[in-house]
Symmetry: C2
Subunit: 203 residues, 2 copies
């Protein structure tokens, strides 16, 4: 097992501490202790905490894309369901790791920093655009395969799905409800769009 | 016009400043200046910033309930659509006031403080429970009047609607998209649940 670099240790510690508390609640001193690096080293890699927030966003996006690349073969609707379910699985894994629902790494930084730090806002927005575009590809395939309602707009549905995940996760975090309810609720959301042979398509 | 009390001025300033930036980004000194009160007076009313966060949540909940009480007469589905649309209208009003989408006053504090301040988390959770219960009453009436799909669970739909609003608002805040897209997206969400006479109810 390769030893993580100082930069990698800082990003890993920050990802964990920002999730378990919040961006503002965690200071540079604490980050340096957790990553076992000196302050000079920290500022060498991350001239500001905002730079670190961006690196944490990049690391989380990379992890999500790596996970999504392991999708089992299947039709478009199955693939879409699986992608969305992975978002919920990540929340269950966080719940196991942190002992509570801690929220989405992107959504948390989005809400906390969008009004306070514009470069970070732009960075999270870009991550969301990437995530939404990948969901839209899966929706588009499911539509092409006739599995979703006629007239379903892939970008609109991808946006609504990402919004539903963000909202369900936000409510689970603040209401302290179990993370394993997120997946079934997202599944029910997709069910609403599933083409049923007997339905009337007024589209 | 009655002059607002010192306590009221502090709550009003905090509601505005927390929305336009964030809870952590605004300090007590700035709050005192904005409300034109002395620090002693501030701590008299709010021994901690967490107490102030709770008062801001209460004020926002009161404002929402007052607004919802002005609903025009109409059937259950019309009432539900109107209630949900008001959530979106508030975002448009904030956008006009602040020059950008600033997010939901409840959602923002929920995400920022749920992991960092448990008493505030409990307080926001309670506000969400109240909001969701009021939405569920409207859903229940629309179901009873046969306007929503057979088998629609009022609490589940109210939860999904609140989640959709939170998620759409979060994405609009971070992606800097216009607030007036939130209302139509929520309308489309409700449309999915609308009972169409010609559809097959497999429920």
């Amino acid at each position: 097992v390769p030893v993580p670099s100082a930069r990698q240790r800082i990003v890993n510690s920050a990802a964990r501490l920002f999730l378990s508390r919040s961006f503002q609640a965690v200071g540079v001193d604490e980050l340096c202790r957790a990553a076992d690096v000196r302050k000079g080293s920290f500022y060498h890699y991350f001239p500001s905490k905002s730079d670190l927030a961006k690196a944490v966003i990049d690391a989380n996006l990379q992890a999500l894309e790596n996970r999504w690349r392991t999708a089992p073969a299947g039709d478009g609707l199955t693939h879409l369901r699986w992608m969305v379910d992975q978002l919920a699985v990540i929340q269950v894994e966080f719940e196991t790791k942190f002992g509570r629902v801690v929220g989405c790494p992107f959504g948390n930084l989005a809400v906390e920093l969008a009004t306070a730090d514009d470069p970070v806002r732009v960075h999270v927005a870009s991550a969301f655009t990437t995530i939404e575009a990948q969901l839209a590809v899966a929706v588009e395939r499911a539509v092409a395969e006739g599995e979703l309602r006629t007239g379903t707009d892939p970008h609109q549905m991808a946006h609504a799905l990402l919004a539903q995940f963000q909202g369900l996760t936000l409510l689970a975090k603040v209401c302290a409800t179990p993370a394993d309810r997120i997946g079934p609720a997202l599944g029910a959301f997709i069910d609403q769009q599933v083409h049923s042979g007997s339905e009337a398509d007024d589209a």
